[in-house]
């Protein structure tokens, strides 16, 4: 379960072990060069597992939307292959698309149409027979039932985004793409959206979401991928990334400045700053090793009579790791 699911006590019934390793989407060497020469995707390899929430992080122009577009049929790739549900998406595109849902970043629909009609339209377009009970269920789950006969233009921004999700869910997709689902929405609505996404996962929908918000990935995702300049820099379980790339930083304010790191502490990753007044530790990983070492350091310093007047500690976040990756500071991350 994700952090949010644990907190909200939802999604507990989802069987994880067997299905979570079965690939639902397999992208291999995907390339896209736009007219004019811009290379948006440079040989992307990515496998998505059934039942997971996968967060694709990347700065603006990294290639996130192009990657989604290539899978969903909005963009013609110039190279590589995409297999969804075990089948080549180019050859069996109709079958594949029936099982894929897309919620694009922009609010795009006929603003003058009614909510329920737009949702029915989406379901029909995906080849499914009318099912008023299912439409009602979808609208109720997104708190839109009371607004079913309202024109979409009359709704608030958050509700419009929910209509987009309702349309994408109307054909019961097994794989759902959410492109920046919480872009431009307030904190309360963002948390509400997370709740909706987690509820979807609890029903077995595989979700790929792109986001700028690292917090969103931390809260929601089982696995995280980082893309920049059309290349995947890293894909791993969120906890594994933290363990591999997470760091602890501790600052000991010394009562008296020292010229060198004391010999008794030389086995720890330490250096001096502010003319020997500040002893800085940078080390550990995302498993708590850093915190343990800082505690050991404090004990040794107390024992050896190295007096410090203050201590600041900080663990790196997924955001720190993301920024370091994008700025090229973590060369061997992948």
């Amino acid at each position: 379960m994700t952090h949010l699911a644990k907190r909200l006590q939802i999604g507990g019934g989802w069987p994880t072990s067997r299905f979570m390793h079965e690939p639902i989407l397999d992208i291999c060497g995907l390339e896209k060069t736009y007219k004019g020469g811009v290379q948006a995707l440079k040989g992307v390899d990515l496998t998505i597992r059934r039942g997971e929430i996968f967060a694709l992080l990347g700065p603006n122009g990294a290639g996130k939307t192009t990657l989604i577009g290539a899978v969903c049929g909005l963009v013609n790739p110039t190279g590589g292959t995409i297999a969804a549900f075990g089948e080549d998406i180019r050859r069996h595109w109709k079958r594949a698309r029936q099982k894929i849902g897309l919620v694009p970043q922009e609010l795009s629909f006929d603003m003058f149409d009614k909510v329920i009609r737009q949702v029915r339209y989406s379901r029909g377009m995906f080849g499914l027979p009318p099912d008023e009970a299912r439409i009602e269920e979808v609208l109720r789950s997104l708190s839109l039932w009371d607004k079913r006969d309202a024109q979409i233009r009359e709704l608030s921004g958050g509700m419009k985004r929910r209509v987009m999700i309702a349309k994408a869910l109307s054909h019961d997709p097994e794989l759902l793409f959410l492109d920046e689902p919480t872009a431009g929405v307030d904190v309360e609505l963002r948390r509400d959206m997370w709740r909706q996404i987690d509820a979807l996962r609890a029903r077995g929908v595989t979700i790929i979401l792109t986001t700028h918000y690292i917090e969103e990935a931390e809260e929601m995702a089982d696995r995280v991928g980082v893309i920049n300049k059309g290349q995947i820099l890293l894909v791993d379980d969120k906890d594994a990334i933290m363990a591999k790339l997470g760091r602890t930083e501790a600052h000991f304010m010394l009562a008296s400045p020292v010229a060198d790191v004391p010999a008794v502490l030389s086995s720890y990753p330490l250096h001096l700053e502010e003319e020997g007044r500040r002893l800085v530790y940078r080390g550990g990983d995302g498993t708590g090793k850093g915190k343990r070492e800082v505690a050991e350091l404090a004990q040794i310093m107390a024992r050896e009579g190295i007096v410090f007047t203050g201590l600041d500690t900080r663990d790196s976040t997924l955001e720190d790791i993301f920024v370091d990756l994008v700025e090229g500071k973590l060369e061997n991350a992948a």
Partner: protein
């Protein structure tokens, strides 16, 4: 590959509903315009004119005016129908759904063509109140109206895909189709034109469309009906081929 008939019908129904939401502008307006032409040229002026073969002038211009409306409305409806999702971004749903060129054409072009048929029925009904006219070959007239509606809805669909702004949507219907239709024998037989204008008129493709419909109404026209039918069908196939190429290549759709 299996045809997604439900998908095609969903698009078709959605398009028809969108058109009927704007029925005042899209149906009433062309009916009023055509009725005014019929009153002024057919009933008022035409009442004092005689044409060879004993055909009344009012009855002579009914098929021409109907063709004028069919061409402009079919083209406008279909072009607007596909351009709006492009403009709002809602085209993403069409591109990501299991619908291909066949379902899209059935949906968008079918709806535009059906609306043109409804419009034709309303115009002919209104014309009957103003002008005394007969339809010599009703079944053939129906088929020909259907063929022209579908063909120019296909042309409109291409224009809607090609257009990158609202201005371009209007260029073809207003600056090409309407002048060609006016000069294509809507109000006169091209046999009445002096040379070299008669020869020049033969290069106007709309001449054959107007005369085709006129033949089904009056049983006579400047050209054989087979020529008009053949030319219209050839144009229809050319439009289908262009749309097929657009969907395969992704031009203006998946760029």
């Amino acid at each position: 590959m299996t045809l997604n008939l439900r998908g095609a019908f969903a698009i078709f129904r959605n398009e028809l509903m969108r058109m009927f939401r704007t029925a005042f502008g899209s149906i009433l307006s062309p009916v009023i315009t055509t009725s005014l032409y019929l009153v002024v040229f057919g009933a008022a002026i035409g009442g004092r004119m005689e044409l060879p073969g004993g055909v009344g002038y009012g009855a002579f211009i009914v098929p021409g005016l109907l063709m004028l409306t069919l061409l402009t409305e079919s083209t406008s409806n279909a072009s607007f129908g596909i351009y709006m999702p492009k403009f709002t971004g809602a085209i993403y749903e069409l591109l990501s759904a299991p619908v291909g060129v066949a379902e899209t054409l059935i949906g968008f072009v079918g709806a535009a063509a059906v609306k043109s048929l409804i419009l034709a029925a309303v115009i002919l009904g209104t014309a009957a109140l103003i002008i005394d006219y007969q339809i010599a070959h009703p079944l053939l007239a129906f088929f020909y109206i259907l063929l022209v509606s579908a063909t120019f809805s296909l042309l409109g669909f291409i224009i809607g895909l090609w257009a990158t702004g609202f201005e371009k949507l209007q260029i073809i219907p207003l600056l090409v189709l309407m002048p060609l239709t006016f000069l294509g024998g809507t109000f006169y037989s091209i046999d009445l034109l002096p040379e070299p204008w008669r020869t020049v008129a033969l290069f106007n493709p709309v001449v054959y469309l107007v005369n085709g419909l006129r033949w089904t109404f009056l049983g006579q026209s400047d050209f054989p009906i087979a020529l008009s039918l053949g030319a219209t069908m050839a144009f229809l196939l050319a439009c289908v081929a262009v749309i097929g190429w657009i969907f395969n290549s992704g031009w203006r759709l998946r760029e």
